[in-house]
Amino acid sequence: GCSDSGGEGKGSDDGKSAEKVTKEGKDVVVAVASNFTGLDPHDTNDTLSNSAEKTMMEGLLGFDKDMKIIPLLAKEYSANDEATEFTFKLRENIKFHDGTPFNAEAVKVNFDRLADPNSGLKRHSLFAIIEKTEVVNDYEVKFTLSEPFGAMINTFAHPAALIISPKALEEHGKEIARNPVGTGPFKFVEWKPGEGLEIVKNEEYWQEGFPKVDSITFKPVTENGSRIAMLQTGEADFIYPVPTEQVEGIDGKDGIEIESKPSIVVRYMAMNTLKEPFDDKKVRQALNYAVNKDAFIKVVMNDQSSKLDSVIAPDVQYYAQQELYKFDVEKAKELLKEAGVKEGLKANLWGANNSSAIKAMEFLQQQLAQVGIEVEVFPMEAGTLSDKIWSVQEAKDADIELYYGGWSPSTGDADWGIRPLVGGEDAFPPNAYNVSYYNNPKVNQLILDGLQTADDAARAKAYEEAQGIIWEDAPWVFLTAENTIAGKKNYLKGIYLLPDGSLSVSELEIVE
């Protein structure tokens, strides 16, 4: 019963902008786009579930608003130069919701669980590299990696590394997914798949004064229109995502505020660099010139995103801005001519079948038509699409020509933003996501360099160089860095989306 305060939100609906609405009580309803798959951070891999997990559990490290790493359960950390050893000093006097004290032993239990190859956990791969976890003392742990991995700190900040109460782990085993116990600001109450998740305030939370609301209910609402309607009627106080199309229609009305912020999600159209004519750099560049990104942002993204000027988004670590391919049909045509591509080139474009992907693909189709490329669009249902992409064993057998996709490196690290997508042969499907079959030894080496050190400057340099080469080689048509868009009633404060698309509610409060 926290949703019946809806009436107030609608006090007057004459569309006055920035009208203030109020709310009784301190129970907040958040409408999200899909179901949680589970609440075990070690065994879930979707941002949405991660968001929920983060309300109840915390990691050693975390991200702030701008994806900068901040300490949470750890006070401080250090690493050796080879990036093989990481030591954390832990915060003291923290208790899990079930009363178990938080200490080095608890950390060890969690990471042992993650690093165990037989665990069957979905997040095991992120931590497989941990060779051993040692309890130095009650409030200090040391991790040793089997090989150098410069991006490891980001992995520790990743929601997959949230710490679960060891007692609960023992008690529930795999069932922890439905009985999450952590140190976070909220405690688990009930989760009915399909209906929603309810959490309440953790009265004994270690950060003074937080949390500031009594409870939060998450409700899965798949249909965009319905989600928005809920916000409009006040059935929900916060919704996300908000489709870009709707932003204009609801922002400032009914006490609704839209928050649209840059994210680390990139949108691109990959070209199969092993396939004619996309094996020719000129052609790939031509396509980059042929697509009007301004129009893309206007028409497809409704101005809710910015142009993508590197293979990773600005908020990702070690991002280096590149010079844009300007929209220039003539130049594109010229390049195509140089490459010997004739008018009427036919190409297939694959992508997801949700309405925004279809819209983007249709737009690309229109754009490429201007330079004489006839694109046929194949929106595919997720399973089919993944099958089409990943059932390929040999790179040369790949049918894929053009692919509209997006990527969010959930660790916020350049490595995870680059390596799986354009990291050479090792990343070819079915190993990873290199659907453009881009394989530049130089880039491969730079990626390796970046990983083999924990030295910031060295890493930055490697990634900067790599980004430059990739940009030049243009395995993708670089489209946009997407915004995260959330809608909320203007009495909410302190609730925001992180650039990785996850939700932060620890500072949530209701203001008058």
Partner: protein, 306 residues
């Protein structure tokens, strides 16, 4: 009667068996690798293989089938690939919402459909008839998801009378049940009309009149009861339609039911859940038709179950 039920229940078994084979084949024919989908977008190949092993998807398909059947016979529907929960649990939570939604849709559809049908039949070729039938055919011609979206816009967003979705109070039922039931109401109305019109031509109706019964008594007493017999059969078949419709409607109204679960599980190729759900749909369909047959027998004394 009792025998008849037993017999029908026994008849269900081979059908369900066929259905289960069919479902299994069908589901596995759908391209898509659940291991990949469950492992998630940023999983590595090793992860995927791990998941595959964990889920038992690395075994030969025939073996998977036998395992599935073996468990099925023992009443074990398996575990969801996606959430790891027992399928029975997963479905259990979603069953009632869909059930109630279907029931309420059916309830209003039948009541309204009958009313319109009877009025149309008795006022044949008058404006009431044209109006009723035009309405009914319209109801049948509306894309239900469109109707749903429009209704949300009107009643939830513009007027604020009803919630937009979810299943909380009785109010939450109004829009989805209305949307889902529209098509059925239309079918019931049309069918009642034609059935009643046929019945009103019957000799026994004339007999009723010749006894001096009023038109109302003849229509509602003698006519409708007989007209109901085919209507009931047809209504049973409409349940299938409702179940199918619920897939779309539940998406529009964020209904925490089976239809939405199905869409989700198809997206994840969550085989055990899809299989179980389809099995439930099939079972439901069969059971409802059994009930319809029983009702048919109650309405029609000429059928005796032997």
């Amino acid at each position: 009667m009792f025998r008849f039920i037993i017999k029908r229940i026994l008849e269900i078994i081979p059908i369900l068996f066929l259905v289960s084979i069919f479902i299994f084949m069908f589901v596995h024919m759908i391209p898509g690798d659940p291991a990949r989908l469950v492992a998630g977008v940023d999983a590595t190949l090793a992860d995927v293989e791990l998941v595959r092993e964990e889920l038992g998807l690395d075994k030969p398909i025939v073996e998977q089938y036998f395992t599935y059947m073996k468990n099925l016979v023992q009443g074990d529907l398996g575990k969801s690939l996606k959430t790891g929960r027992a399928v029975s649990e997963e479905i259990g939570a979603r069953f009632m919402p869909t059930f109630w939604l279907t029931v309420w849709s059916m309830a209003w559809a039948v009541i309204i459909g009958l009313l319109i049908g009877v009025v149309s039949a008795t006022k044949r070729n008058k404006w009431q008839d044209y109006f009723g039938m035009f309405g009914a055919v319209s109801g049948l011609s509306l894309p239900s998801f469109w109707l749903g979206l429009m209704l949300i816009q009107l009643f939830a967003v513009k007027l604020g009378w009803l919630p937009t979705g979810g299943m909380e109070t009785w109010k939450s039922f109004i829009l989805p049940a209305f949307t889902l039931g529209t098509g059925v109401a239309a079918v019931v109305a049309r069918f009642t009309r034609s059935s009643l019109m046929d019945v009103l031509k019957e000799d026994y109706i004339r007999t009723g009149r010749s006894k001096g019964l009023s038109e109302r008594k003849v229509t509602w007493g003698h006519g409708l009861r007989n007209a109901m017999i085919p209507v009931v059969t047809m209504t049973g078949l409409q349940f299938g339609f409702l179940l199918g419709g619920s897939v779309v409607i539940e998406t529009v109204f964020s209904w925490p039911g089976l239809g939405k679960l199905l869409i989700d599980s198809v997206a994840y190729r969550d085989y055990p859940v899809i299989q179980a759900e389809m099995l439930i749909f099939a079972l439901e369909f069969i059971v409802i038709n059994l009930i319809v047959d029983l009702l048919y027998g109650i309405l029609n004394p000429q059928i005796r179950y032997e």
